[in-house]
Symmetry: C2
Subunit: 257 residues, 2 copies
């Protein structure tokens, strides 16, 4: 990337297109933060950025969402064991417990990150909180950008590492919150529809595949063998056969789901 993307804002500090700077730039592209502290100025650079983003952003989204889901699952395991050790009546982790944990984690991440950034960058604590918030929501205005002072990108590798880990860890926590608060509702329609479809199929299959011994409601057992060939649905309604009274089994079965 260094060879095709040129340093576009030479008035900012730091060696923007050495490895650390390029990595920082790539992170802001893939996470869609897009501070704009360094941007491609050549046609090749812009083209590469577009191709890179087109592949990288969906992959990044999948990665952060997967991590977020795992954070949620880990949280629920921890909540359950804590509740177990406290001998709570309700041992399962509820949605509300999870939301509380993830909100606390997000707040701690922003508070901790802000403390570090205000120390390293010389910002006020409030400004650092604002920077962390704008970064982790991926708004990324670029009015305040970390790693731009005192050639931090080349001279303070531990600070660069911290800033990048903060962004990746913070985004994972935010992804966990979004997974919990938004995505479940967003995919609910699709999920419900699929489940309804699957259930309709099952009801149909259940009506036909009633094979083996049947215990009726009055307690008697009926032996019935379909053998190895299953009757197709229409054979249950033979025009010359016995009339099936309504509600028949498949109607009942569907209604019971």
């Amino acid at each position: 990337m260094e060879t095709i993307v040129l340093k576009s804002e030479p008035h900012r500090a730091g060696r923007q297109w050495k490895f650390a700077g390029a990595f920082y730039y790539a992170t802001t592209v893939l996470t869609t933060i897009g501070y704009g502290h360094s941007t491609p100025s050549t046609i090749g650079g812009k083209l590469f950025t577009m191709c890179y983003a087109m592949i990288g952003i969906p992959l990044g989204l999948v990665m952060f969402q997967s991590i977020g889901e795992r954070v949620n699952r880990l949280s629920s395991v921890i909540i359950r064991s804590v509740k177990s050790s406290l001998h709570c009546r309700q041992k399962e982790a509820s949605e509300l417990d999870l939301i509380c944990v993830v909100t606390t984690l997000s707040s701690l991440t922003i508070a901790g990150g802000a403390a570090a950034f205000s120390r390293y960058e010389g910002w006020t604590y409030f400004d650092s909180v604002y920077y962390c918030f704008i970064t982790l929501t991926t708004i990324g205005f670029g009015d305040m950008v970390a790693l731009q002072k005192d050639s931090a990108l080349s001279d303070k590798p531990e600070y660069v590492m911290f800033a990048l880990i903060f962004i990746l860890f913070g985004l994972a926590i935010v992804a966990a919150s979004l997974n919990l608060l938004v995505l479940r509702f967003v995919t609910m329609n699709t999920e419900d529809e699929r489940r309804d479809e699957a259930q309709a199929m099952q009801a149909l299959a259940g009506a036909v595949r009633l094979e083996g011994d049947v215990i009726t409601a009055n307690g008697s057992i009926l032996s019935g063998q379909l053998g190895h060939h299953l009757l197709p649905m229409h054979e249950l309604h033979p025009p010359q056969g016995p009339i099936v009274p309504s509600p028949a089994i498949y109607t009942n079965h569907r209604a019971s789901i």
Copy 2:
């Protein structure tokens, strides 16, 4: 917002914090584009932006994802009717068809938007494509921002309308692609687990709630009424009652799902 957020970059053109500019700013915050062409500089402005984003971004996400899902559903209806009229063998819209349609829509949106922006802003066509791409992926570097020349925000209301509609429409199309390509995979684990759980519950419920008339495999109809109280699971295994031969109905039933 105008009263608490101050114009922070007075060197840029346009009245940034009049209604049109503030609306543009709010759009860049809620969509997480965050060009950074105008940013809050006061403590009140930053605080308001954070609160606004904390509520608005999840709502925006839900909105765009809902629209995206509806775009996908509309596409599949259109594909189905086109296939019907062309007398295709496979009448259902496959996932691949949908991906093709949504990709074409995205490309057309970017191509069309780029043509308009290159005309209004005097950018080259390639730069306009780059701008549209960086905007619709919500990276929003802010190296190129529409509506900043010739006091467009106050003097060209039709162009302002076009730019905002382009962003909202474009993001809906991008959301449709993401819904199709990413979100379904991301929520697959959760979905599968829930479906498995629901099915296990149904299998259990199905074994108990076999109510009404039963058609056995040999064709006879058995009338059995549980009445209004359903037998709990353990009552199907009365120790003194008739021994249920295996495979019994609930075993079969579970296996058939």
